[in-house]
């Protein structure tokens, strides 16, 4: 069932802000409180607002289950691939090979309070992004399955 026009317009206006806020929490996970799991939950809440405000039949064409399932699997594969990258380079499993090294995310940080740079912390931002994509896809798929199971008409009862 659809909600009124006020609720639908409010959900349309709120979703971009929730998306930007969630992506900020995911990306700055190594500097401020937050990280992959928290940011993924915030973005999935924004998607849930849109799914609940519009009726399920309108949304089912645009947010499809196949896309979200592929996104969740891609997140988990990226996480395992980043952990196995250290195996391919000759170190142990899950070693932080990019920290303090000078390439992609590899600035060094001395001990003590500092304002915080985005370029630090090695493999950790890549893992944050992977887990954020996985949690976003996973929570949206759960919500879509529960709603489609409720809306299905009984055949022969």
């Amino acid at each position: 069932m659809r909600m009124s026009k006020l609720v639908r317009t409010g959900a349309d206006l709120l979703y971009p802000f929730a998306l930007i806020f969630g992506l900020y929490i995911i990306l700055h996970g190594h500097l401020t409180p937050g990280g992959g799991f928290q940011g993924g939950a915030v973005v999935a809440t924004g998607a849930a607002i849109v799914i609940v405000a519009w009726a399920y039949e309108d949304v089912a064409g645009m947010i499809r289950k196949v896309t979200m399932k592929a996104q969740e699997s891609a997140g988990l594969l990226l996480f395992i691939g980043t952990a196995a990258l250290a195996l391919g380079l000759g170190y142990a499993f899950f070693t932080n090979v990019l920290a303090n090294s000078g390439s992609l995310f590899g600035l060094s940080v001395p001990f003590g309070p500092n304002p915080g740079e985005l370029n630090t912390a090695g493999v950790i931002p890549i893992m944050n992004i992977a887990v954020g994509i996985e949690v976003w896809g996973g929570l949206t798929v759960i919500l879509l399955y529960l709603l489609s199971g409720l809306n299905k008409k009984e055949e022969g009862s």
């Binding site: 409180p33 399932k69 969740e72 920290a99 060094s108 912390a121 489609s148 199971g149």
Partner: protein, 94 residues
Amino acid sequence: MKRGLVVLTFVILAGGLLLIPALLDFGMPAFSDMDDYFLKNGQEQTAANNIVTAVVFDYRGFDTLGESVVLFTAVVGVGLMFRRMLKEEEYEDE
């Protein structure tokens, strides 16, 4: 008889749970050697400002791997339980 047994079990469990505020000190943890090492050397070894994220993804990365697989399994389980109910809808999508 059954109701008396339920109340008795509840009283025993309540007594056991109320030992927690009685015996523990709030604000003085007993053993904190591992966390002192993480707080002193975590910023130089992992170059991250957030020590909790460094512990979750770098020092204890295996637990995070297990947790991601648990979340993935939960989604697979929900999809499995609705499989018979949504049988004709899935083939229409593709």
